[in-house]
């Protein structure tokens, strides 16, 4: 599926902004660490999100048709359909990732430098090992490639860069997927609905943790 620019822009900003309550999470070691260096030139003001944006604006997207196929295949390897929810590509995560890596902000620029060479690598790997593009491979072939790189800690030294790419791609796929209504439902988020009062945790929850 493909969605309009305004929708993906709003989605990207919302997902990027929804770091829980404190800024604590943004500073914990790991994928949320933010690049605060910025760029000398700056990136100007944010695009107007009340406006309808179409292809090209407010900044050009990155992924061409072949790269979108690779991205979709990798998204769905990481988050396939299961009995609870559909796959990542089915809810627009390919558009989300394209939006993310195309944006001019420091974090997104940094991620772009990992994602684009990574997509090139995975295509080359698919060709070298199986003589076909990644999107056209059998599941078992894709998994063979993924198994070598899905753990930064366990990857062979020559796969270290590819493993870092895979980890980053997995984080972006998860962030995109779980910030959709479908993903939120899957994961058990039932908030962001207006309430007349806030009751706190129900008794069954308190019992489970030994507080009631």
């Amino acid at each position: 599926m493909s969605m309009d620019r305004r929708t993906t822009l709003k989605w990207m900003f919302a997902a990027a902004a929804t770091v829980p309550g404190l800024d604590a999470l943004a500073d914990t070691p790991g994928p949320q660490a933010r690049d605060v260096a910025g760029t000398q030139a700056g990136y100007g003001t944010d695009p107007a999100l009340m406006k309808e944006w179409h292809a090209g604006g407010p900044w050009p997207l990155t992924l061409g048709a072949p790269a979108r196929l690779t991205t979709a295949a990798l998204c769905d390897l990481i988050i396939p359909a299961d009995e609870v929810s559909p796959s990542a590509s089915a809810v627009g995560v390919v558009d989300f990732i394209d939006e993310w890596i195309s944006a001019p902000y420091p974090q997104q620029r940094a991620d772009r430098t990992i994602i684009l060479p990574g997509l090139t690598w995975i295509e080359a790997e698919a060709q070298a090992r199986f003589g076909n593009s990644f999107a056209a491979l059998e599941s078992v072939q894709r998994e063979a490639i993924a198994n070598d790189v899905c753990s930064v800690g366990k990857a062979a030294p020559q796969s270290a860069t590819a493993a870092r790419f895979f980890a980053k791609f997995r984080d972006l796929t998860a962030g995109g997927f779980y910030s959709t209504p479908v993903g939120m439902k899957d994961i058990g988020y039932v908030g962001n609905v207006p309430l007349a009062k806030f009751d706190g945790p129900p008794t069954e929850v308190l019992k489970k943790v030994g507080l009631a």
Partner: protein
């Protein structure tokens, strides 16, 4: 050193944590010999803390803890009910004698009392009472949905644009000029300020605004920049000196007890429901800690609104995977993390200052600031203590940590990251050693006032916004008195 060049400034993106400085915080030098005492005490500001809390609406509780002041009766709104992670932290932190109490934040947990408060805030001023009462009726109580940081459509949280400006506009006495970049305060013949020069951001044209009294509230460091670019109010040479930020260090863990809990709405008021005030005053003053000032702990856990952190960075827990197993793990671990953030007091020092950059100018041609910064051992040791404490609490909860706690040097955030920017035009009793008196009034220009954080001569662990607002109210009353007596 983030800048918030927007209407409402920093109130658009603060955490709404509203803590009072305590009696010790006004006399830190007397207590431990370091930094500066304020030219006022807690008792001078307490009535204004009450007023600000009633005006903006702050939830919390009165616990009577050391240097953690109570508000007057009837001032605070009820705190929201704790989340399950709050209760778990409280239970296990108690084993370490770390107190967990309701937080204080500027979010309406119930509607403001429009019949009572306006009379208390504007005694004898029927027009002000009426306007404020109408505005208080227009603010709804929190509906526990939508992220505060993106603006509150029902005006339940406090931000200047929705809480201060509408009633001020309703008086008919306020003109707002937006897109105006102030370059300098102008001097009138015979001394004193007579206005400002500003540049229209859209056209680049320069304009002047004339004034009987000039009040700078541009965010501490922007105020410093304006003063330095104006060449005024700096006979002491202290403009730009003693800039401070909050000591910040964070650490989190994963708590198996929180895995697999039945889904329930944990949004609450979109921010901390509870916190830990500094609890080691006695040990500290006895010299047992190796650092002179305290910190409080903000923490967060549970099934918060998913975003880029959700399902991310799980390799330390599951070894790194993909596919259906990954989806199962994302469900399993979501909501099981607890994150702690220490926010501590920095002591002003000679190595932390801002000055005009001799070459770099912004796009309007206005010289920018350059910053000099150095934490002292007091701050890095404090950050190390934070890390150790957070790890102990996580451990007590049966939690797991991705990495061991960091050293203070590694854990401490750079200056300008927490961005509780204060100082740079400090208040004092002595015109040779300070820029303003306790009313934020320049020693040299009697009609020039500063009402942002620039006048703070210490930066208690308590987030500064509430104190800045209380000081501003006190300064405004003083200013009005002077104007009525024709002394301004």
């Amino acid at each position: 050193w983030w800048r918030a060049r927007m209407l409402g400034g920093r109130t658009n993106h603060w955490g709404r944590i509203s803590l009072r400085n305590g009696p010790y915080d006004f006399k830190p030098q007397t207590r431990d010999g370091l930094g500066f005492d304020w030219p006022m005490g807690y008792e001078d500001l307490a009535p204004f803390y009450d007023k600000v809390e009633m005006l903006i609406g702050v939830y919390g509780s009165n616990e009577g803890l050391e240097n953690t002041p109570n508000s007057s009766p009837g001032v605070l709104l009820p705190p929201p009910k704790p989340r399950v992670s709050d209760l778990l932290v409280r239970k296990h932190a108690a084993k370490l004698k770390v107190p967990v109490i309701p937080g204080h934040r500027a979010v309406l947990t119930k509607k403001l009392d429009d019949a009572r408060i306006p009379k208390l805030l504007h005694p004898g001023n029927a027009k002000a009472q009426k306007i404020l009462a109408e505005d208080m009726r227009a603010r709804a109580a929190c509906f526990f949905a939508t992220p505060c940081g993106r603006g509150c459509s029902i005006r339940a949280n406090y931000q200047s644009t929705t809480v201060h400006l509408p009633p001020a506009m309703a008086t008919g006495n306020l003109d707002i000029v937006t897109d105006a970049m102030v370059r300098a305060v102008t001097k009138r013949a015979g001394g004193g300020a007579d206005g400002v020069i500003y540049i229209d951001r859209r056209t680049g044209a320069e304009h002047r605004a004339k004034a009987r009294v000039v009040v700078l509230a541009a965010s501490a460091l922007e105020t410093v920049r304006i003063l330095l670019n104006s060449g005024v109010a700096n006979g002491s040479g202290k403009v730009g000196k003693y800039i401070m930020d909050t000591v910040g260090a964070n650490f989190g863990g994963q708590v198996p007890m929180l895995e697999g809990l039945p889904p329930h709405n944990e949004d609450g008021v979109d921010g901390g429901h509870m916190y830990v005030p500094w609890w080691l005053y006695k040990e500290q003053v006895a010299g047992k800690l190796g650092f002179a000032r305290g910190y409080h702990i903000e923490f967060d856990g549970g099934k918060t609104m998913p975003g880029m952190g959700t399902g991310a960075g799980l390799e330390w827990l599951n070894g790194g995977n993909y596919g259906k197993k990954f989806k199962q793990d994302a469900r399993r671990y979501y909501g099981s993390f607890v994150k702690f953030a220490g926010r501590g007091e920095m002591i002003p020092n000679d190595d932390c200052y801002a000055e005009l950059d001799p070459t770099t100018k912004d796009k309007f041609g206005i010289p920018v600031l350059r910053f000099h910064w150095k934490w002292s051992d007091h701050e890095t040791r404090q950050a190390a203590h934070m890390q150790k404490t957070f790890a102990e609490i996580i451990d007590a909860m049966g939690g797991r940590m991705a990495t061991p706690p960091q050293s203070g040097e590694k854990a401490i955030k750079q200056g300008g990251i927490i961005i509780h920017e204060v100082g740079g035009a400090i208040m004092g009793d002595d015109p040779a050693k300070s820029v303003t008196n306790s009313f934020g009034q320049s020693w040299e220009m009697k009609n020039l006032f500063i009402t942002d954080g620039a006048t703070l001569c210490s930066n208690a662990d308590k987030n500064p916004t509430l104190t800045i607002m209380a000081l501003a109210w006190r300064a405004a009353e003083h200013m009005l008195g002077l104007m009525k007596r024709k002394e301004l």
